[in-house]
Each structure stands twice: as structure tokens, then as C-alpha cells.
Symmetry: C2
């Protein structure tokens, strides 16, 4: 397989994967492009390579920086900004977990807390509260497990976890 073809295939697949992971297609494609880019790229380079508009490029680059998946790199004597990808996959996954936990899991926990205050003592209400209680228990566990996961380091993940788990 030819290099250009390979690179392109990687960018497309990474885009598809990302879009089912809460990262939109273009955002993931930019990340992919930067991952396999030997040097930092400018916004212009990215627009060119992916054939996207300036606005789109700008917004998605900002989002990637927000998520900690891309860094700004300033070159001496250059006015424009260059960008590089976070290349450590463990950090990439960790940052995504952190963002999504905050945006999705935590609001759910808040809601579960709220709705367990049902001021009604019918058997039906009892049953409802019981179901919610179990979901809450599970979610809290998941939440703190993810916290630990995020705090642990790459080395731990690739090394110990696999053995521990079986």
C-alpha cells in the first residue's frame, strides 16, 4: 500500500471512530492528521489537507485544545500558530474520559440524586425509588472507578491491569 493512501485511510477511520465517541468527525480527522504529521501544522495546512473551511478548522482546533488532545506550538519569528497532537494514547483516552465524565456522567448523577426525593409513599413510588437507588449506586461506582483510572498512569494501564484482571 502506498504511503499517501495509508495516511488517508487512517484519517478517515480515525474520523469514523471519533464520531462514535463524542468527538465529531472533523475534530477526529484533524487529530489524526496531526498524529501522523512529522511536524506541526498551521491552520492553513489543515484546511488544505482535509479540504475544510477556515471556520470549521478553527472551531475544531480550539475544541481539540480544550480537550487536551492538541497543543499550540509557537515558532520563533512566525506570527501564525502551529499545532501538534498529543501522541500518547493513554493520555488521549484519559482526557476524553475526563471530559465526558464531566459532561455526561456527572449531570446524570445530579439528576439521580434529585429524583430520589419522591415525597410519596405509595408502593409504586417505593419501587421506583428502589430502582433509582440501584442505578445511583452503580453510577457512583463507575464514576469513582473512572476517577481512579484517570489518575493512574500509562504504565500501570499497559502493565498491571492486564494481569490483575485475569
Amino acid at each position: 500500500m502506498k504511503l499517501e493512501e495509508s495516511k488517508d485511510k487512517f484519517i478517515q477511520s480515525w474520523g469514523a471512530l471519533g464520531s462514535s465517541w463524542g468527538i465529531n468527525r472533523t475534530m477526529a480527522q484533524i487529530h489524526a492528521l496531526l498524529l501522523i504529521s512529522p511536524e506541526a501544522l498551521s491552520a492553513e495546512d489543515i484546511m488544505e489537507a482535509l479540504q475544510i473551511s477556515r471556520g470549521n478548522a478553527n472551531m475544531n482546533i480550539r475544541a481539540l485544545i480544550d480537550w487536551g488532545l492538541v497543543y499550540k506550538e509557537l515558532k520563533a519569528g512566525e506570527r501564525r500558530e502551529f499545532f501538534v497532537a498529543e501522541k500518547d494514547m493513554w493520555t488521549v483516552v484519559r482526557n476524553i474520559i475526563t471530559q465526558r465524565k464531566k459532561k455526561e456522567l456527572e449531570p446524570m448523577l445530579k439528576v439521580l440524586e434529585e429524583i430520589s426525593n419522591v415525597d410519596d409513599n405509595s408502593p409504586e413510588a417505593e419501587e421506583f425509588v428502589q430502582v433509582i437507588r440501584e442505578i445511583k449506586l452503580f453510577s457512583n461506582k463507575a464514576n469513582s472507578t473512572l476517577d481512579s483510572l484517570v489518575k493512574s498512569d500509562s504504565n500501570w494501564f499497559v502493565g498491571t491491569f492486564m494481569k490483575m484482571i485475569k
Copy 2:
């Protein structure tokens, strides 16, 4: 808070959570409705409760059954079908992981395998292959970790994992 209001809030939030988890809003809402439903519901009941069309209800119920998140329940002497939710959260998460692993992670692994066959020995190609190799290593690890996770049981998750992890 009133019971009906609580239930409704739960359905809405579960729908929102689901839609950022590869399960569409309605699909997650149906699951939520069934989770907090004391008895099995018919398609008609679900359409009524969520104010959705017959086609929508049918398709999403089928998808939920496919994912192993909802079961069909046949009542003696009743021609129509009733549905109940899988209520064990660990099983729910496990089934979602299984589905998404198959639909998203595994195709990516295949692509990574393919594209590491670059028949080019320029330094640039070398570098590219190296980056892909690292991603592949990580993805394979993630894949088998998820496999173990899926095989392990609920009890293990809620009990041991937390202590192990720190």
C-alpha cells in the same frame, strides 16, 4: 418531588445520556421507561407514554432487543408482545461495550493492520508506520482489556476492582 415528575425527569436524562453513548435518544428513553415500569409494557403502551410513532417504537424496541437491553415477554392468551428491560446495570454496560467494541473498535483494528503494510522505505514512511504501530499496540491492549471486563462478573466489578485499582 412528585412521582410522575420524577419518572419523567429520569426518562429525559437517561435519553440524553444514551444519546451521547451511541444509543439514540428514543432508544434510551424506551429503556428508561421500561426500567422504571413495574410491569411489562406493550408497544402501544410505549408509544403512548413517550408520544412516539408506531414505526419509531418498533424499530427502537428491536434495536434494544438486539443489544440485549430489553427482552420480549409473551403473556399467555395475549397475542401482542410485551417488553421488559434488563435491569442489572452491569449487564447493561457489558452489553453496550460488547456491541460497540464489535462495531467500532474492531473495524479500527483491522484498518490499523492494513495500513501498517506501507511498501515504501522513505524515512517519512518509517515514521508513519511507527506511529501506527504504537496506536495498534494500545488498541489491542484496550480491546483485550474490554474482553476481560466483559467476561468478568458484576460482583467482581462492584467488589474487587475498586480495591485493586487503589
